[in-house]
Structure formats: C-alpha cells, structure tokens
C-alpha cells in the first residue's frame, strides 16, 4: 500500500499559508496569475511532498480564479468565450506538460525536472518579462491611457488572417474575428507552462495582449477564466490520484480570497501600463531567482564542477528570498496604485461636484442680473 504523508498543521504553518495566500491572491487578482511560484516551494519547505504541494496549490487556485473572474466580470473586464476556449486548449497543454515532466523525471531524476523547470522559467521570463516591462514603460512615457488602446502590429496581422471555418469573434477585441488555429497553440502553451512552472499566465496574458490584441486589463481578467478551467481539470486529475491536501488548499484560499478582491478592485483604478509594469517587474525578479538556483541543478546533474557545500544552502535561500521579494514588490506596487487611484478618484469626484455647483450658481447669478 502506497502511503502519502500529509503534513501536521500548527498555528505558525496556518499563519504563513494564510499570509502567502493573501499576497498571492492580490497579485493574481491584478495580473491574472502569480503566487503559485512561491506557494509550491513554501508548502514543500513546510514538509509537503512535491506532488502534494502542486496538487493542493492547484486546488486553491481554481476557486480563487473563479471568485476573481466573477468579480472582474462585474467590472466588464472578462471575455468569457475567449477564456473558456483558451482554457480548454490549456487543459490539453497541462496533460502533455505533465507527461513531459514525468518522462524527464524518469530519465534524469528530480534534478532533471528542476533544471527543465528553471530553463523554461529563464527563457520565458527573460523574453516575455523584458518585453512586457519595456512595453509598459514605453506606454507610460507616451502617456497612453485605456481610452486609446492600440492594437499591436502582430495582433493586427493575426486578426487580418481569414481561415474559413475557424474564425470566431471576441468581445475583448470589439468582436473582431480571430482564427481558432491561432488561439489553440496559445492556450496549449499556457497549459504547458502551467504544468511546468505553475504560472501559465506568464505566457497566457502576454499572448492575449500581443497576439490577439486584447487590452492588458481584459487579458489579465480573462486569464482568470483560463486558470479556472485549467485548474478545475487539473484538480480533478490530482483528486482522482488522491494527492490533494484540502486542509492546506483551504487555508491558502482563506487568505487568497481576501487578496484577489483587492487585486481585482485595483485594476479599476489603474491604466494599462501599470498592469504591464507590475507583471514585467514580477517576471524579471522571478527570473533572477531562477538564475541564482541554476548552478545548483547543473552541479547535481554533473554538468558543471560540484559546488562548495556551504554555497548550496546560500543559493537556495537567496533564490527563495527573491521569489518572496517578487511577490512582496507586486503587492506593494498594487497597494500604491490602488491608494493613489482611490485618492485621485475622490479628488476628481469632489472637483466635478464643485464644478457642477459653480455652474449652477453662475446660471442663477446670470439669470438674476
């Protein structure tokens, strides 16, 4: 009989999971994904086995994505059709990704999968993260606002290709039509990435923005639908295998649902470039974390000379600290954007009210004179 070890919970463990869940939820509510890259290693460091940590993380992720997408749907930011379609293709990506991971583990052991995951992280984050951050900075410099969403050149080309029998219109791009043959690989890649690094949104959101032409705020909201569809399927799969520790998942969910609401509210106060800026920043900090850890895996696989024994724990801890920093800086950026946005909105409302009163008084005075 195969026995899985589920960890003992105490107050400290519960508090850590709650807080990390809250911060992860806040980032997810704002950029559509995130948090998983810290939660899985955090659960593992608390004693959960890798597979239980991944399964429990997924079991908290899909209900969080459900709540986040309902919230953002109320703000008119979600393209449900695009989310479901991408989610279904992503589901296929998750299963192929899992098979690939299993194959690598069988051939090269855990160090092999770790190296694969780090490699994927580094390549994706370096390319996509830099691009998203650069784009965000460029938009801010140009003073772009949400009112004038510019469709990227690549998306314009994708929208111009007509492949009969595969075309579908989407609300997020003003009902312009895109071929399913373009959406399928994007969804599939999102799922593959989710199966490898647990953050499919790092591909899904930029893919929607730059390939399909979805505005950043709608892309991050739609990604929550993708995460729900993908996470629900993944959770059923892991539950079938009996790997889900529902206690862990629900404790994280307790914190993350507080966070996801704040993240979602935050999106209504910011401009597109803020979302891109926060996403790019988080991606690049996570990239640094993976770069720090890379020599450890390379040494384990004997691809480089063995590392000094005292150096390994330092690299491990620094790498984990960078992941925590990525989440914390995301939380800080969202909090600042939210507070700033709320103050500006309050001032604008007051100014509008004062202007209305002034105009009314002026009309009375003019009429009297």
């Amino acid at each position: 009989m195969d026995v899985i070890n589920f960890i003992e919970l105490n107050i400290a463990t519960v508090a850590i999971l709650f807080v990390v869940g809250f911060i992860g939820g806040m980032v997810s509510g704002f950029i559509g994904s995130g948090g998983a890259f810290v939660l899985t290693p955090a659960m593992m460091s608390l004693g959960a086995s890798g597979i239980v940590a991944v399964a429990s993380n997924m079991a908290h992720k899909f209900p969080k994505a459900l709540v986040g997408s309902i919230k953002r749907h109320k703000y008119g930011q979600v393209d449900i059709k695009l989310g479901i379609i991408m989610g279904l293709f992503a589901e296929a990506g998750v299963f192929i990704g899992k098979e690939l991971m299993t194959g690598i583990r069988e051939s090269y052991g855990n160090a092999g999968t770790d190296l694969y995951v780090s490699f994927v992280f580094i390549v994706v984050l370096a390319i996509v993260g830099t691009f998203v951050l650069r784009d965000g900075i460029k938009m801010k410099r140009e003073g772009s606002s949400d009112d004038v969403h510019k469709t990227p050149k690549l998306a314009k080309w994708v929208q111009s290709i007509n492949i009969p029998g595969t075309m579908m219109g989407f609300k997020s791009i003003d009902n312009r039509r895109v071929s399913l043959l373009f959406i399928a690989p994007l969804g599939f890649a999102t799922g593959m990435l989710a199966a490898s690094i647990a953050v499919g949104g790092f591909i899904g959101v930029p893919a929607m923005m730059y390939f399909i032409g979805v505005p950043a705020i709608m892309a991050t909201a739609t990604e929550l639908v993708v995460a729900f569809v993908m996470g629900m399927g993944g959770s059923l799969f892991y539950a079938w295998e009996g790997f889900v520790d529902i206690r862990l998942a629900m404790i994280i969910l307790a914190g993350s649902l507080f966070g996801v609401q704040i993240g979602a509210i935050g999106t209504t106060y910011v401009k597109e470039y803020t979302v891109k800026f926060v996403m790019g920043m988080i991606m690049l900090i996570v990239l640094i974390s993976r770069l720090i850890k890379l020599p450890v895996y390379l040494a384990e696989l004997k691809l480089i000379a063995p590392l000094n024994e005292s150096l390994v724990p330092i690299l491990n801890q620094t790498s984990f600290a960078m992941l925590v920093l990525a989440l914390l800086s995301g939380m800080l950026a969202i909090t600042i954007a939210l507070i700033k946005g709320m103050i500006e909105h309050k001032n604008d409302s007051k100014a509008e009210e004062a202007l209305r009163d002034y105009e009314k008084n002026l009309a009375v005075t003019t009429a009297e004179s």
Binding site: M1, D2, V3, I4, F6, L9, A59, H60, F62, P63, K64, L66, V67, I70, K71, K74, Y75, M232, S235, L236, A239, W240, E241, G242, F243, V244, D245, I246, R247, A249, M250, L253, A254, L257, F258, V260, Q261, I262, A264, I265, T268, Y269, L338, G341, M342, H345, K360, A363, V364, A367, E368
Partner: protein, 103 residues
C-alpha cells in the same frame, strides 16, 4: 424666468435629494454589514467543520490514492463551496471598509 424658477426649485429640493442620497448610502452600508455578518458566520462555520473533519478529509485522499475512488471528488466540491461562501464574505468585507471599485 423659467431658469430662475427651476433653480429655485432645485435649491428647495436639494436638502431632500441630499437626505435621500444619505439614506441610500446608509441602506447600502447596512446591507453590506448584514451580508458580512451572515457570510462571515457561514465562513467560520465552514472552517470549523474543516478543522473537525480534517482527519476524515485526509483519509478520503489516502483511500482515493490507494484505489477507493468513490469519494475522489470531495476535495473539489469542498473547494467550490468554500470559494462561494468565503468569496462572498471577502467581497462584502472590503465593501464595508469602503474599498470599492471605481464607479
């Protein structure tokens, strides 16, 4: 003359409109407070149940892993129920603290 009359009427109606607006706000805060209370209690009850039945839930996962698949869906159903109840609670919680979306 018409404008002056209209503005005079506006001035006379203003306190009433303002009271109506304040009453509306009070009503909405009261509603949110009631919802926070109801969903808060339900949420706490769910977490209390989770604590009480944690061993059983873990045993369901263990049994599923060892081939008894009858109750494999329980964790997913639990997650959905928690998300609906706790999700409502957290939404009203921020509402009552006046942290709301831009209107």
């Amino acid at each position: 003359m018409r404008t002056i009359a209209k503005n005079n009427m506006d001035q006379q109606n203003r306190p009433a409109a303002s009271i109506k607006k304040d009453l509306g706000m009070i009503k909405s805060v009261m509603f949110a407070a009631r919802c926070v209370f109801v969903f808060g209690v339900l949420s706490i009850a769910l977490y209390a149940l989770l604590y009480m039945f944690s061993t059983d839930l873990i045993n369901i996962s263990r049994d599923t892993h060892n081939g008894h698949k009858t109750l494999f869906f329980v964790p997913v159903v639990v997650a959905l129920v928690f998300s609906l109840v706790h999700g409502k609670f957290t939404s009203y919680f921020w509402d009552i603290l006046n942290i709301k979306a831009k209107s």
